[in-house]
Symmetry: C2
Subunit: 442 residues, 2 copies
């Protein structure tokens, strides 16, 4: 394995230019990121062991052994950041069905089923989901975790223990943060004590879905008190509903200001924002901005679950994506659920999520495509507090190499291969090879 | 190469059961399709050269040389049928931009640009698009072709000649039908003469977009007269609009009945059907049913182009997918445009289209998933008049083998590999291989 990294003929689409770059890294840090004035030929790299990713295929050793990697115009992105997953629920669809396809049935059925999952089962599914995300280029995950203390401490802590084991197993491969779903059912005192214990064990963030509680205002207050006490950020499911009257995000914003938590609070989903009048939506977005809230759209799950009561003109179900961006509110796009009762599809692939976002929000111009990439890189990196993020001199080497030479190829899935580097080594190779009979003949 | 085909441990999802099957074919025809009572071990196949598709990877020869192929529970689908593409426009995005992202700008810009495309350019792009579709499992395509006689006969026939050359080149690989977009601009007499010539050259179907003409009724009448005169089927873009007043499908239905063309007319898009009142929509669907119309939804392009004037609750833009299916109207899903000004994404992959349909129409139940598969196999096969279609004894061998063991894996893209067989041989292999560093260490 060579000590450094050297790349030529690299496209860096988040730089908004079409230039090619030459990149060098030493001991896990980028030491130079230079524009090339033209396409470099292999011999110009001065490398004795030059490698093109497609030649390496899925052989990570060949990539590691190269002293120069020629991307031939392929794109490199910083390691993708999926800031809203539910690793603990992933791949539970086989055990937890959802006949109506509604959010309501999904919540009920999962709550019944979770009691039957062993810690080992949970850990195995979480590991599979996290590694699948890694294989598509995700190197940082924030996962929400169910914490149903009202079903018994043992049930609630089973998920926590499994999650912490998975993080430990993957610590040389990727970064994982956990947000605890603060339960609003049952005895609050017992729950708060259990939450304190979970935070001590290593949970990073307080989450929850206060819009589902009987008294959302009270729940939000409770979550902020707990978060302040333990000095952790807040990341809440907010107004995942078709009802324009759901505006708990206003209360979240007010609490954020009151607690001086600006920049440390994230509101996810915000589907009802699309259902509000223009005037109400403007007021809500102004308040979000005032409070320095971050926002996350989960387009796959919202398209799948929302708008089910509509007839004829069926709403898309996502939040006001373009409007939030226009307001300058940091908006990330994330995976949410993977093959579970909330969402039968998904594979933890943020490129696929960016594509679904582009359909959901009519984003197809060149500028839009760059914006879509930011929604799965820089913005969620900021939300999750990644240090030294991005392909910049002095920053950590953490990236995914693709065989797509532009964002259209990447989002359309025309080019599928991905090679992922993080934590000081090549972590994963996903390589697609293609043959046509007609090519064999000629 | 072996003379016959022999498969074991095959799933056939369109049969709506979870059994495994053993299949045999001789001289390009299925001779036996039998349920297995259990998973078969390799030695039970009696084969001396057994092959698992993943071992063959992208090496078609290894598949061809095997005397038995063990799918190990992977799914086989009949060759997919994409009944609405625009091969001639595919991959023109680089040359024809669309800043506003509207249908209107796309039509205008393409009309300007088409005059500058050489026959060779057109043929090359069409060939790339058709073969890309083949690689994802499509073995039959119906492509619409622009025919702008008002820009000059030479311009119009350039596309036709390119298209016919491409079909000739691919005739040992896949089936292609062409539908001519009957032009409604310019001199009708000259156009009708040119259309007659194009039909003589080998165009199969009459198409067009009469809802865009000043007098749609007159255009529809003209297309039916021409179609009857030459005895060809009709396939029309219909009401690709957000305006609920667009109901040219009613006139199409009336003409179908008047000309005795039941079963031979297809109406594509039908976006305005979603915008109509429930009552109007019911009347339109009843009329469609009475006329024996086929319908095609183009969810990727309609999601991308439609609903752009909506604010807040943005419509999905597709037709009434669930309602048309409930009425028993044959409804296929198809690709439409690929990386052109009408749609910057797409790759001619009907599995991807089925996934987008599932989001667009809230289709996620087990029954829905089987329905989605029908919309890219049996239904478009019927619409395009494929003979002996499907994996049945006595029928032609025409299929795609996947590494997905259920429809969820297939639609979510968790399993991506495809091996395609048509016209008596293995045509294409698209193989995805994956490695994790953590697996190398352990």
């Amino acid at each position: 394995m060579s000590a450094g990294l050297h790349f030529i003929n690299v496209r860096l689409p988040h730089r908004e230019d079409l230039c090619l770059y030459e990149l060098k890294a030493e001991v896990g840090k980028w030491v130079s990121v230079h524009r090339q004035d033209r396409f470099l030929d292999a011999w110009e790299s001065g490398a004795s062991r030059l490698m093109v990713p497609h030649q390496a295929g899925s052989d990570l050793k060949r990539l590691a052994d190269a002293d120069c990697i020629d991307l031939q115009g392929g794109m490199m992105l910083p390691g993708l950041v999926d800031c809203h997953m539910h690793l603990d629920k992933a791949f539970s669809l086989e055990q937890v069905s959802n006949r109506s396809g509604t959010l309501h049935e999904a919540i009920l059925s999962y709550s019944h089923a979770v009691q039957t999952f062993s810690k080992e089962q949970l850990a195995e599914r979480m590991l599979t989901a996290a590694r699948m995300a890694l294989s598509y280029g995700t190197t940082t995950i924030r996962s929400h975790l169910d914490f149903p203390v009202h079903l018994g401490r043992e049930v609630a802590f089973r998920t926590i223990e499994a999650a912490l084991e998975v993080r430990e197993k993957l610590k040389g491969s990727m970064s994982i943060q956990y947000a605890l779903m603060v339960p609003f059912r049952g005895n609050h005192e017992a729950a708060d004590e259990a939450i304190e214990e979970a935070l001590r064990m290593g949970i990073d963030v307080l989450g929850g879905a206060p819009h589902l509680a009987d008294d959302p205002e009270r729940e939000i207050g409770r979550i902020f008190r707990l978060a302040e006490r333990f000095g952790v950020p807040i990341d809440l499911h907010a107004d995942e509903s078709d009802n324009p009257g759901k505006k708990t995000v206003l209360s979240i914003a007010e609490h954020t200001i009151r607690y001086g938590y600006q920049g440390r609070v994230t509101a996810d989903h915000l589907c009802s924002l699309s259902a509000m009048t223009e005037n109400d939506a403007q007021l809500v977005m102004a308040k979000m901005k005032e409070a320095g809230l971050n926002a996350v759209t989960l387009p796959a799950v919202n398209m799948y679950l929302q708008g089910r009561e509509d007839r004829g003109l069926v709403r898309r179900g996502t939040t006001r994506i373009r409007e939030l961006l226009a307001e300058g509110i940091p908006l990330a796009a994330a995976s949410d659920n993977i093959q579970d009762p909330f969402h039968p599809f998904g594979r933890g692939d943020l490129i696929q999520i960016a594509q679904i976002t582009s359909y959901a929000a009519h984003m197809g111009s060149e500028q839009d495509l760059v914006q879509l990439l930011r929604m799965i890189t820089d913005t969620p990196a900021e939300i999750t507090g990644c240090d030294e993020y991005g392909i910049e001199e002095g920053h950590d080497c953490n990236f995914v190499v693709t065989d797509a030479s532009d964002v259209t190829q990447l989002l359309s899935g025309t080019k599928m291969s991905r090679w992922v580097y993080a934590s000081g080594k090549w972590q994963s190779a996903l390589h697609t090879a293609q043959t046509f009979a007609s090519e064999l003949v000629t």
